[in-house]
């Protein structure tokens, strides 16, 4: 697989046929939104360019110039001196509202509280593919930096013109422009007043190197944190519109069930209730939530569901239904590698379907005004949802506005627009704004899951620790993180699509969790096979300095070379994904009677280039470790015949306070390297580290996630 294939592969589950480009936020729309002041445009081509070196801006001389058709983001300093950033990205708890604010404030030399970030409103913000793949920090942030730096230079030139001095003598201090001896000063508003200047970021604009950052690189608090701790922030679920009614959907008896018959007379007789039926879609609206619920339950429906595979047969089913393989051309020769090996190992690893379970369930408020549709909804793909709506209602995208309030998390689970479509369908039928909030059970049953998968590994190793052959086949779970950063001479790595019995899609880190689990448990098995220390064995096969650095950092902090804690097992894992490096060491205790696994201590080292916000990065890494505990130990979707059997919190265990180990995070700050995203990769190391620690504690090797489901424990 070459690098380009790999990139496409990462996005296999992330893109539901979304267009890479969309020229909808064009010059005309921009000019409608831009009333005056100074604007700096980031062209879309800058954001989708594969490397930062490929950035192309248009030549940026003074004065207005051609506005590109494909605007990716823009910064506006209006005539009141307000700095606004317009981006189609969404805030779902990863704190990019704060980190993007930091980037812009840094380059403009203004305080953080003067910058406002307008996000994810399809009428106000330019097209964006979606917020996923840890792309905001490596792609959006550097471009906004450039735009802010260009805006600063433009403003300085304007201030210098007012004073008839050289631009080089003008500085910005505390959001004021001052001349060489600080005898004169101007505010942002005074400089922007009367201007109507639009520029595209020039190709040669210089941004502040990370070593000189003063705002970025520091632990700026969450910019609107106060709204969250006071309950004032309005999520989609909290919105209310005049005349709004409440919706409910009548759900099928099972996945892929077809409607045979329905009788809604009783529901229709309820005061204020409207029943909407359109093909297999049946929904109701009512003036209040309780009536909507009663009406939904009063509809008699008969569904017919096809027989479908369940848990017991899942892994055989996935292998049997493998349809195609995608992978790189093998490196070297597995046959030769195996011939050179002194020991060989073949093992199979599995991962279960798990649910995102975002605490704010899917929700939408939909409102039609004549032929214009507005939908507020929590999604990671506002423009994708707009496309879904356009398709569902056969209307042009210009007639649709999707607004995403900062959302109660997603973890890759909110890429689709079904709730928005349902709310809009009900709203069109009733002629009133409709609020639709999925119940927790609907969230489990009608959203989508992290793919389950089967992974087969064949390897050969020499007694000195050299891995001579590495053959790796992943069925269904995905290709992310499938490539090795180890220096294996002979490799054959393949991903095989399969037919999934359950609806599946993106999940934080995608398949990198499954692939790291299989790879790093297998590495532990090889180390054991040749009686070598797991850290020394890995180091023997690593040439990549960054991977080596995180592995050594985690091992040192953990005290790997020191004495083991009595009664506990320890394990380690390392890896690379989405531009960042990780190593995780875990210490566990296993109750001899009950087999209950308790993760006692986790040390995780992480390196993602230059750190933008140390505290928020720590928070992301800690959070990923905690979320990883669920998938590692107990999260496991049970299903049969198209029905989810454990689709509620009383049946589906999530990590809680009492599951929390002592967590120590070691952040390696590489100010000499561009910042990579950090929302995903910190999740991949925990499961293999814990599996290896369980082996160390008990001598039992578990090759299935979740680990606690195994009868071996």
């Amino acid at each position: 697989m070459n690098e380009h294939d790999l990139e496409l592969e990462q996005e296999r589950y992330e893109l539901f046929a979304a267009p890479l480009y969309n020229f909808n936020f064009n010059r005309r729309q921009f000019l409608k939104a831009f009333s005056g002041g100074i604007a700096l445009i980031v062209p879309m081509s800058n954001l989708v360019a594969r490397t930062l070196q490929q950035d192309q801006g248009e030549s940026g001389r003074r004065g207005n110039e051609r506005i590109p058709d494909d605007i990716g983001a823009w910064i506006h300093i209006d005539e009141n001196g307000t700095v606004s950033v317009f981006t189609g990205k969404v805030e779902i708890g990863q704190n990019i509202r704060t980190s993007l604010t930091q980037a812009v404030a840094e380059e403009l030399h203004v305080p953080v509280d003067t910058v406002r970030v307008v996000m994810a409103d399809t009428d106000l913000t330019p097209f964006d593919m979606g917020t996923f793949g840890s792309l905001t920090t490596p792609r959006m942030a550097p471009q906004l930096r450039k735009a802010a730096a260009a805006a600063r230079e433009t403003l300085i030139t304007l201030a210098a013109e007012q004073w008839k001095v050289e631009p080089a003598s003008v500085r910005i201090v505390n959001a004021r422009f001052v001349n060489h001896d600080a005898s004169k000063s101007l505010t942002l508003a005074e400089v922007a007043k009367g201007q109507k200047l639009v520029k595209t970021i020039p190709p040669d604009v210089a941004t502040t190197p990370a070593k000189d950052w003063t705002i970025a690189g520091t632990s700026v608090p969450k910019v609107d944190g106060r709204d969250f701790v006071t309950g004032k922030h309005q999520y989609t679920t909290d919105l209310r519109r005049d005349g709004m009614v409440y919706g409910r959907i009548v759900r099928p008896s099972a996945l892929e069930a077809k409607l045979v018959s329905s009788d809604a007379k009783a529901a229709e007789a309820m005061p204020g209730v409207k029943v909407v039926q359109d093909g297999d879609f049946i929904g109701v609206t009512a003036p209040d939530r309780e009536t909507a619920l009663r009406a939904e339950r009063a509809i008699a429906v008969h569904w017919q569901a096809p027989g479908q595979p369940g848990n017991e047969e899942l892994f055989d089913y996935l292998k049997k239904n493998a349809v195609a393989s995608r992978g790189s051309r093998p490196i070297g020769s597995i046959v030769n590698g195996m011939a050179a090996a002194q020991k060989k190992l073949s093992q199979t690893y599995t991962v279960a379907y798990i649910a995102h379970a975002p605490l704010e369930p899917r929700a939408a408020v939909a409102e039609w005004n004549d032929d214009k549709l507005t939908v507020w909804t929590g999604t990671q793909r506002p423009f994708g949802v707009r496309s879904d709506l356009a398709e569902a209602f056969h209307i042009p995208e210009e007639k649709i506005r999707v607004i995403v309030p900062d959302t109660g998390s997603g973890y890759g689970g909110k890429h689709t627009g079904e709730c928005a479509v349902e709310a809009a369908r009900l709203a069109r039928a009733t002629g009133k704004p409709v609020k639709l909030v999925w119940s927790r059970e609907e969230e489990f049953n009608w959203a989508y899951f992290r793919p389950a998968g089967v992974i087969e590994v064949n390897s050969g190793v020499r007694n000195d620790g050299t891995v001579t052959a590495w053959e790796f086949h992943n069925y269904n779970s995905g290709g992310s993180g499938i490539q090795v950063k180890y220096d294996f001479l002979n490799q054959d790595i393949q991903f095989h699509n399969s037919k999934s019995p359950l609806r599946q899609g993106s999940y934080r880190g995608l398949a990198a969790t499954a692939n790291h689990f299989a790879r790093e448990v297998h590495m532990d098995e090889l180390a054991q096979l040749i009686q070598m220390d797991p850290v020394a064995f890995r180091l023997k096969n690593i040439k990549d300095e960054r991977l080596k650095a995180v592995l050594e950092a985690a091992a040192n902090k953990f005290g790997w070379s020191g004495k083991k804690t009595e009664g506990r097992g320890r394990g380690i894992a390392c890896g690379f994904e989405k531009g960042s490096y990780i190593a995780t060491a875990a210490e566990v205790s296993v109750d001899a009677k009950t087999g209950r696994v308790k993760i006692e201590r986790v040390v995780e080292s992480f390196e993602c280039g230059a750190i933008v916000n140390p505290r928020h990065l720590n928070n992301q890494v800690e959070g990923a470790i905690v979320q990883a505990i669920g998938g590692a130990l107990f999260e496991n979707i049970q299903f049969k015949n198209g029905q989810i059997l454990n689709g509620k919190f009383s049946k589906y265990r999530l990590p809680r306070f009492s599951d929390m180990p002592v967590i120590e995070v070691v952040l390696l700050d590489r100010k000499d390297l561009p910042s990579a995203g950090a929302g995903e990769t910190p999740i991949v190391g925990l499961a293999p580290a814990v599996a290896n620690a369980i082996f160390d504690a008990t001598g039992k090797r578990i090759r299935s996630m979740p680990l606690s489901a195994s009868s071996a424990v």
């Binding site: 969250f228 379970a357 605490l359 800690e622 919190f649």
Partner: protein, 159 residues
């Protein structure tokens, strides 16, 4: 049972007219437009809907409004006084004890119930008391840190 017509919420008497069996959560959210209290699971398993009823933490999603009708109800909206945040609210900000923030109201209300009865809880007591509240973003360590800060027992503030 007759409808519930008055409630005491955050020290104020408010008029409603709702079925006595309606969960308190929806009375607050839909009828009083106090949306700081959140729905998470509807079966008292996540704590997002936690409010205080006469100082006791209650899962409002499974609490019929009639059970709170003659009592003092405190919600997240009632913690801030004259523009001054409650010490727990301050501490949650200082400790960065949230990511998406959806669980935060319930976390703060549960924690306030703990501190009301136990001003200096141990770490184990905090974990035990808070175990019914889920933070899917996984900020548990920071929430514990925030509660200790509010209680004045925090040894260090997490970076």
């Amino acid at each position: 049972m007759p409808n519930v017509t008055t409630l005491n919420v955050n020290g104020k008497k408010v008029r409603v007219d709702v079925d006595s069996q309606m969960p308190l959560l929806y009375v607050l959210r839909d009828h009083l437009n106090m949306t700081g209290t959140k729905y998470g699971c509807g079966e008292a398993k996540c704590g997002a809907c936690t409010v205080l009823v006469d100082g006791q933490p209650m899962r409002s999603c499974v609490t019929p409004v009639s059970r709170a009708s003659d009592k003092q109800i405190t919600t997240i909206e009632g913690l801030e006084r004259d523009g001054k945040l409650h010490p727990l609210q301050e501490a949650f900000l200082k400790a960065d004890a949230l990511q998406c923030g959806y669980c935060t109201s319930g976390m703060i209300m549960s924690a306030s119930a703990l501190l009301n009865k136990n001003a200096k809880p141990s770490r184990d007591e905090i974990v035990k008391h808070m175990d019914g509240n889920i933070c899917r973003c996984g900020t548990y360590a920071r929430i514990v840190n925030a509660i200790e800060m509010a209680a004045g027992t925090a040894k260090e503030v997490a970076e």
